[in-house]
Assembly symmetry: D2
């Protein structure tokens, strides 16, 4: 009914735009009707602001703290991954900070940063359709694709990933419940029988816990969770978090006064056919 009311109003006023998250017309900006100064006075966190602007909700403290944990864990992953690499190359070409950030952000997608989104869709599908974990694993095997959120190059059941442990502990101590995580862990119990490194990785854990987080917020409906996964909110979380790293790499190169990068010729196989 929000949308029917919306379109009535729209027709009446003839506005070309609709905006439902913030307002800058008054004395001070408001985020979902909450004045910024009220937020600051209430000692609201960055995670709380994200909840307001992305989900239009006041999220409970355990949830906003979880969002911040995810930001901290994915803020950077060294200079070699696509995003940081392109940002560094742009910074060394002498470009301004905004251009450097965008050159890097534009590499974020299915292969870089996309595992969180993919994993979320998978855990949601499995839990909602009540697919048994074993069945899910076999389904993916038949499709011939790896399960997003499962597998690590270095870590394994004997040498677990500390970040995953911390996330699991956080959920155990603060989340009202965590059925998506439990599902993902049930999948892990099956895959680790196949290979000891086929553990639930940090992307898969964030994906599962984000679903648990939203599902347990009293004011977020099931439809809203579905919508949030569809429109790619988790991708937004990675984009925001990684922007911290990309700003860092831009500044790092400028401080180091690194010159224009040119990829070395001998690392390229020039393969031109006779035409």
């Amino acid at each position: 009914e929000v949308s029917s009311r919306m379109f009535q109003l729209k027709t009446r006023k003839g506005s070309n735009f609709i905006s439902t998250i913030s307002d800058d017309r008054g004395d001070e900006p408001t985020y979902c009707r909450t004045p910024i100064s009220a937020l600051v006075e209430a000692n609201a966190s960055v995670g709380h602001v994200i909840g307001l602007l992305w989900l239009k909700k006041h999220l409970p403290a355990w949830a906003t703290k979880f969002i911040e944990l995810c930001i901290i864990l994915t803020a950077d992953h060294g200079p070699c991954v696509s995003g940081a690499h392109n940002t560094i190359v742009a910074s060394r070409a002498g470009k301004d900070l905004v251009s450097c950030i965008c050159s890097g952000l534009l590499t974020i997608g299915p292969r870089f940063g996309g595992a969180i989104d993919e994993a979320a869709k998978l855990w949601k599908f499995g839990v909602e359709k009540e697919i048994a974990p074993l069945e899910l694993v076999e389904m993916k095997k038949r499709e011939g694709v790896n399960i997003s959120g499962i597998g690590h190059r270095v870590k394994n059941i004997y040498n677990p990933d500390k970040r995953v442990q911390i996330l699991k502990e956080y959920a155990a101590n603060h989340f009202p419940q965590h059925k998506y995580l439990d599902y993902a862990l049930a999948v892990e119990r099956i895959t680790t029988q196949k290979g000891t490194n086929l553990i639930l990785n940090v992307d898969g854990t964030i994906a599962a816990l984000f679903l648990d987080c939203l599902t347990n917020c009293p004011n977020v409906s099931a439809n809203e969770v579905t919508e949030v996964v569809e429109i790619g909110l988790l991708n937004g979380l990675f984009v925001l978090a990684r922007t911290i790293g990309l700003v860092g790499h831009t500044l790092d190169q400028k401080r180091l006064k690194q010159g224009l990068y040119r990829h070395p010729w001998d690392d390229v196989l020039y393969l031109q056919e006779e035409i």
Copy 2:
């Protein structure tokens, strides 16, 4: 001497890249040698991570909290400003989240978001060169340009900006000292004699307090503060903060299923000369 050691090493190893902020080669990423899990265990905040990746320092809690305050205050400013507008137009063109964010970010610069950076340079110049506030005001008048960080369309000395008050209170309670803020306030005392709305605005306050923040961190040298202002770290802070809003606007339009935007013809003056 870091840089001489750096270039020796570079020559010896023949590396094409240098990176000094993070490392992803080990079991888990580290930010300035600090493993992510250690950060999480120490209950580090988003502001702390920013301090590590942008300044390569463990900043004190009062400083990281201040960085987060700035993020909260500038996270969004409604749908009408350039950044949000272009993001919204891209979202309505059916583009993916990353493209929408970048289309908006690319409007950040001298006229949108740039006042913080400009103001920081001005307060730094004034304090370091010991320019009397009156002299600074007159200098800018002679140049015929407005003082960045001064002036508000709605607020004035009788109806002050709550956000500025909160920032000032935060500094009074938590900063060891705040000579840049004091300088900016001295400038305000002069400009408000000219017009009651020529108050120190939120951009000017953030700029001054960021300088005070860095200057008072025991492990940040004067040279580092200068470098940070030159390479545009404050611009990075605005880019990061506003990314929160841009993600919000992208999701908002997608939730509202808004169609392709075409600017109305009758709002454009088509002025083609005979050629």
Copy 3:
């Protein structure tokens, strides 16, 4: 077999990149083994260079001239469409030319610029699967979607689109054959019975003729045509052509010294729910 040879070579040399379109290692750049100076001496056109770099072929003159026709027809479409609009807003924010162009380009996609690509897929599908034009029209009706490349807001069978006429004439005079155009025209004969404005539009004509163009180039295989449509070459053509317009709009605003744009508040329906 190119790719098997490629991977053998790759393995042997351990290169991280493969590139098959150009080479900058010698005295002068070559495009598919052809030195730039040889191209210029042979009076090669911009369309010829596009053929080399995008298709790795020396295309016949009638084909390169056709590519240039498409560029001219889609170079610009006024200041109101998404791409030009975002470029203009960025230019008015005082941003550099590259940022302005990118802010605009990032709106190109399914709803803006995408009809050419969609139409090409449709005509290709119809011709290859030998779907009768009537059947195609009814298929789309059942799916409830408009046929890409069909329909015009102003033009109709009695008041035809001059650009389409010119393209058709060009094909009649210069293309060896044009079965995709004929197919699209057969579809038009059916849709115009439904509505006189449901004519083959300029996007649909370009799409059909691009397929005819490639199909009739003796050195382009059927697999290569399929590949070209799949990887989105037609999208590239629109991106390149429209870059001319976006550069034009950027320069136009800078010449006119237009100030920062802020969308008017009263054109926005602020619709914030109680939370």
Copy 4:
């Protein structure tokens, strides 16, 4: 007086935008009042359209042909330069064509692509201020900066650059006059005494000839030439030309189905200080 008339009209109509290069309101788009179909019928070239949209002029054939020469000469420069490299990395991250192009374009600036712009400013300064070539060379030496447009890594006076020769021949045969080129060649006569490789390079030649081109178009005023150099039209020419190459590299990687690129760890000097 255009601008005074403009603002009168603006005030009267209250438009938020002004646009002087194209119009899409009628039956077909017009570029500077010229209907697209008229352009096609007149067999106008891509260079002619660029003249209309960037300079608002019908340029003579020798000039539009020169613009196309420049596009052909700078369309691509192999996969190793910043722009192509970032485009390739984005393409290998599985991103759509537009994102790949933008990731690459965003590296164009002072160090990559910027020599043309810089050289144009220098030749213009030298000719207008009547600085003797020798004086210009010494001025730059005193400033400690290289002369943009002068110098080549491989070519020298005994082994000249074919592209420069072609451009010079084109100007000799088609330009009414070429005082900027002559000036640049006078500078070259001095620098080549210092080093045989300090020849006028292709960037410097394009820059000089672009000035000669505009200066010799009867309908382009001296003020317009100045404006064009100031607002960065030459940068636009490079952006447009190189977009051809960037589209080519995007398609090349997609055809080759190259996977996600990760820069090799051992090419990075990780240099983290104790903090």
